[in-house]
């Protein structure tokens, strides 16, 4: 058993290898190396050819387009994302709370989405913000929302000739925001549960409301239908709407382990956020 490993010099070379050899990209390797490890002192064996893409500068970096869309290269690391003020708050927070420093220096956003784990931290805020992934093959380019891309735990719509090149986050527009990661401990922690929510208020009317729940089911949970329960309503009416809303949201998530905790805590956090919004505080993030 010998591993086949390619090291393309350019994105184009990588795309050719992807198409012709079906080589699987290894970015930071923090998921792949762990998934195929065989033990101390033993080289991992991959059941497929691997190509190391870590060094491809074309897929690195963060830029902002004219309409405010933030574009993050697939090979950008969590540290780079967490440090960049131009990246929306929710994504920065999620990136800053991943693993420990060494992990954050290595883990990439493309890898986090590519891995499609329900406990992965970045999809949750990306799905909240209707972010999209750009999928490139040697023949064509596709774009779809992260929500569409991730099907369920460890399953996504990546074709075997495609590479994720970038993630595009439309400029968020909100009055109030909320982000919480409940990890297994205070640092270097896998998420037990995460939640983000935003609300846009104009003249006391809720113009937009979104929430997304991470680590609470086989994939990040959002429901435009349930979100609609609040859109168009008066902020002052929130106290009377809250219970129906949190109950409806409860139907959106489907936690397998620790269901009582995950359900009760999701309700607690959403209720808190909504009741805080009802007080119409200064706009910004609700802590």
């Amino acid at each position: 058993m010998v591993n086949t490993c390619y090291i393309p010099k350019t994105l184009e070379e990588a795309l050719v290898l992807r198409k012709e050899k079906k080589a699987v990209p290894l970015a930071g390797g923090t998921d792949l190396m762990v998934a195929y490890k065989r033990g101390v002192g033993i080289t991992p064996i991959f059941p497929f050819p691997v190509m190391i893409v870590t060094h491809l500068d074309e897929l690195k970096g963060i830029r902002v387009e004219e309409d405010g869309t933030v574009v993050i290269g697939a090979l950008t690391t969590s540290v780079e994302i967490a440090r960049d003020e131009r990246v929306p708050y929710f994504v920065r927070m999620a990136a800053s709370k991943m693993g420990a420093v060494s992990l954050r220096n290595t883990a990439t956003i493309g890898g986090n989405i590519g891995n499609s784990s329900p406990k992965g931290d970045l999809p949750q805020p990306l799905i909240l913000l209707d972010a999209t992934v750009v999928l490139q093959s040697i023949d064509k380019k596709r774009e779809m929302t992260v929500d569409e891309f991730i099907i369920k735990a460890k399953k996504n719509r990546l074709n075997d000739d495609e590479i994720i090149t970038e993630i595009r986050i439309p400029k968020p527009d909100y009055t109030y925001g909320y982000f919480r990661k409940i990890g297994t401990r205070k640092a270097n922690a896998i998420s037990k549960l995460t939640l983000s929510a935003i609300m846009k208020v104009e003249s006391g009317v809720i113009k937009d409301f979104r929430a997304s729940s991470g680590a609470a089911g086989p994939k990040v949970a959002r429901s435009r239908e349930v979100e609609k329960l609040l859109i168009g309503k008066l902020v002052f009416d929130l106290p009377s709407l809250v219970e129906d809303f949190v109950d409806a949201w409860d139907g959106v998530i489907s936690p397998h382990a620790m269901p009582e905790f995950r359900r009760a805590t999701t309700k607690n956090m959403l209720r808190y956020f909504l009741l805080e919004c009802a007080k119409l505080p200064k706009s910004g993030i609700i802590e």
């Binding site: 065989r38 033990g39 101390v40 002192g41 033993i42 080289t43 064996i45 420990a100 919480r180 409940i182 297994t184 401990r185 205070k186 640092a187 270097n188 922690a189 896998i190 037990k192 549960l193 620790m258 009582e260 905790f261 995950r262 009760a264 805590t265 607690n268 956090m269 808190y272």
Partner: protein, 711 residues
């Protein structure tokens, strides 16, 4: 040339090489012609082995099992009993039991071969929890699944006390498994050198290994040399467990005559090594109308797994610590070591004491709150004092300074203001605990069983310390060199203390039971004193042997008398905030005071306090290890959660000066003491914050949510 004095805070002699990664551990060594071994383990909790089908083994690869034990040997590891088999033979008793080992030169090949070994079983009904075993869902040990038991009592007859009490409070407390997570995983090698077997091991007790596997091989202990390698942490996990690796390796080495290494992966170490005993402690406590304790009847159950290992001694310690630092008019405790088809449990820092100490602390907190007393004030009424009787009808020999310690930490933490301010259920809480730890071996074990020896050897200006006690990260090598440096009056760089080699050193007993500084360090001080007096005699050796201090009667058959030579004492305050939305707990402050006699090195002792308390808080807050149908659920360090430095804040720590007459420079044991009480202070704080009583640890946020939701 400078002498290092006891009062100097010293940098540990091994600090730099370890921090820089220069220290060499067993996995860094290579011996010519060496092979590796990989275990083939049982995959079911209980059953008969019908067949073992091996894949075709490449040249130079071997499968070693019970049939390879030489004539005259025995399929047993001599720990305390001889029930732990070197290899499962005919049947298996728990998931992870060694069936055989595969040996060969390439670890990748061994890994693949192991996956191809097919063992077929006839499965038998198994018991995997204390309840299963007590309900006799299957009988796996004796008539009732109780592998060992004991009872002891003191004071007034408890049955009478309970029959007259105004009220009886019955409460049951449970604690979970705990994994050691020593930084270095278990690793052992065996070679055949110059007509002797040589074991290289990451281990606490080289002489234990020697005895244990000499039994397996049926040879004299002297035909085996055990060399301790630099050991990256142990916490009890390397007290008896290295035997379980060394046994199969020596059997293999006997056949193959090549050096063979076995180095566990982290996942292997987590899933297939000994753990702390899960426990259940049931109190029936009789009270008068004002809530004063008249007497208590305590039943203690420890899940010992499939083999005894050190469990009987662990259970004894649990029983002897079950009334905590308190004296009640009457007390009786029963201990039951419950056999299950689970991985055997064994030594872990605290050695049985933490489970019952946690339980008694919570029990007193609950009674105090129920009757409207402050827990600190309530507990204080029952503090043991010098000369008072213990649960084994022994006496507290030393001065007890708990009240001074309590004052130190209640002042520093502003405890009394905070208990007033933090209303029950307010999300803020503060808790206080008191605890002790009996130093050294139980009863007369030091005198009757261990008979520790230590040798000092003078060559020119240099002195070597020759004993079997081991450095495993706790700082022992540093303090022993310091004791010699100060006592003899020579530069610490002229004092040598290498990792022990059983063919070169004398047996000073296991490095366990918080005994090394207290017992072996004392021998070292005595030997060094003699050496100083005779310094001008040229090159010579001094050997000292343990002498039992007068006035510590003990009867090991009835468990009566002074269970320990002396106690370390502790007090701890922990303050928390519990997030109302998520039940996440933030620890706001940790204050502790310990009576450890007199610190032999304040910096090293500080490290022990910090580490012990954090480990205890991890035990209470995070470290959930569930065993389902005999298999551990948390098998990696991403699912078994130990604390990081971010989880707990800076600690404030105090000591009291209470020199111990039979320890070096007044020191007594402290390595385990510092683990024994922060857990209950933390849980006391959490209880105040959420306004509910709790009955088990660990208690991560999801379980706190469960308690809050409880009707």
């Amino acid at each position: 040339m400078a002498v290092t004095h006891i009062t100097d805070k010293m940098k540990r002699v091994d600090a730099y090489e370890k921090a820089r990664g220069e220290a060499k551990y067993l996995c860094d060594f290579h011996l010519p012609g060496m092979l590796y071994a990989r275990m083939v383990r049982s995959t079911i909790p209980r059953g008969n082995i019908l067949s073992i089908n091996l894949p075709e083994l490449p040249d130079g690869y071997y499968f070693i099992s019970a049939k390879d034990i030489p004539e005259g040997g025995k399929n047993a590891l001599h720990m305390i009993a001889e029930d732990y088999r070197c290899f499962a033979d005919g049947d298996v008793k728990f998931i992870g039991e060694t069936i055989g080992i595969l040996v060969g030169s390439d670890r990748g090949v061994l890994y693949e071969l192991e996956k191809m070994v097919e063992v077929t079983y006839e499965e038998l009904p198994a018991v995997t929890t204390i309840d299963d075993a007590l309900e006799k869902k299957a009988i796996i040990s004796g008539e009732d699944n109780i592998m060992c038991k004991l009872e002891c009592e003191m004071g007034e007859n408890v049955d009478e006390v309970l029959s007259k009490a105004d009220s009886i409070i019955e409460e049951t407390f449970e604690t979970g498994y705990q994994e050691h997570v020593h930084l270095e995983t278990n690793s052992v090698a065996c070679a055949y050198e110059d007509g002797k077997f040589v074991i290289y091991a990451s281990a606490q007790c080289p002489f234990y290994i020697r005895t244990s596997i000499a039994c397996t091989m049926g040879i004299k202990s002297d035909d085996i040399i055990v060399r301790q390698m630099t050991t990256g942490g142990a916490f009890g996990g390397k007290e008896h467990f290295p035997d379980v690796i060394a046994g199969p390796l020596i059997v293999a080495c006997n056949k193959i005559r090549k050096p063979i290494f076995m180095i566990f992966d982290r996942e292997e170490d987590m899933e297939f090594s000994v753990k702390r005993h899960p426990s259940r402690t049931v109190f029936r406590t009789g009270l008068d109308k004002d809530g004063n304790i008249l007497g208590t009847d305590i039943k203690i159950y420890y899940n010992v797994g499939a083999y005894l290992t050190s469990s009987y001694v662990v259970l004894q310690r649990g029983v002897f610590h079950s009334t905590g630092v308190y004296r009640f008019p009457g007390a009786r405790a029963w201990g039951f070591g419950v056999a299950t088809n689970c991985f055997p449990t064994c030594a872990f820092r605290g050695f049985g004491a933490p489970q019952t100490l946690y339980a008694i602390e919570m029990h007193l907190d609950h009674i105090a709150r129920k009757f409207g007393y402050d827990p600190a004030e309530y507990k204080k009424k029952y503090f043991l004092k010098q000369g008072e009787e213990t649960i084994t009808q022994g006496h507290i020999v030393e001065k007890v300074m708990l009240e001074e310690m309590m004052k130190q930490i209640t002042d520093a933490s502003d405890y009394y203001r905070k208990v007033k301010e933090y209303a029950i259920g307010s999300g803020k809480g503060i808790g206080i605990s008191f605890y002790n730890h009996g130093g050294a071996f139980t009863g007369n074990g030091e005198q009757a069983i261990i008979k520790a020896k230590l040798k000092l050897k003078k060559e020119g200006e240099k002195v070597s310390i020759l004993c079997g006690s081991t450095e495993m990260g706790q700082g022992f090598r540093s303090i022993m060199r310091k004791i010699v440096s100060d006592t003899v009056g020579i530069d610490i760089d002229n004092v040598f203390y290498d990792n022990p080699d059983t063919s070169k050193v004398v047996d000073s007993g296991p490095t366990a039971a918080s005994r090394s500084t207290m017992v072996v360090g004392f021998l070292c001080e005595k030997a060094a004193k003699e050496m100083k007096e005779r310094w001008n005699e040229g090159d010579f050796e001094v050997i000292k042997q343990y002498e039992h201090p007068e006035g510590h009667p003990w009867d090991q058959t009835t468990f009566r008398g002074d269970a320990y030579l002396g106690y370390g004492w502790g007090a701890c305050v922990v303050e928390v905030e519990v997030d109302k939305l998520t039940k996440e707990v933030t620890t706001k402050g940790i204050w502790s005071s310990h009576d450890i006699g007199r610190p032999i090195d304040e910096l090293i002792v500080h490290g022990q306090v910090n580490g012990g308390i954090i480990q205890s808080l991890g035990y209470a807050a995070l470290e959930k290890l569930e065993c389902k149908d005999g298999r551990f659920k948390q098998r990696s360090i991403s699912s078994y959660i130990i604390p990081t430095s971010m989880d707990f804040p800076h600690q404030e720590y105090f000591f009291v000066d209470n020199p111990y007459p039979w320890g070096p420079y007044g020191a007594k044991g402290m390595g385990e003491l510092v683990f024994n009480g922060a857990d209950s202070a933390y849980m006391g704080a959490v209880e105040r914050a959420i306004g509910r009583d709790t009955f088990k640890i660990p208690m991560p946020p999801e379980d706190i949510q469960g308690v809050v939701d409880r009707k």
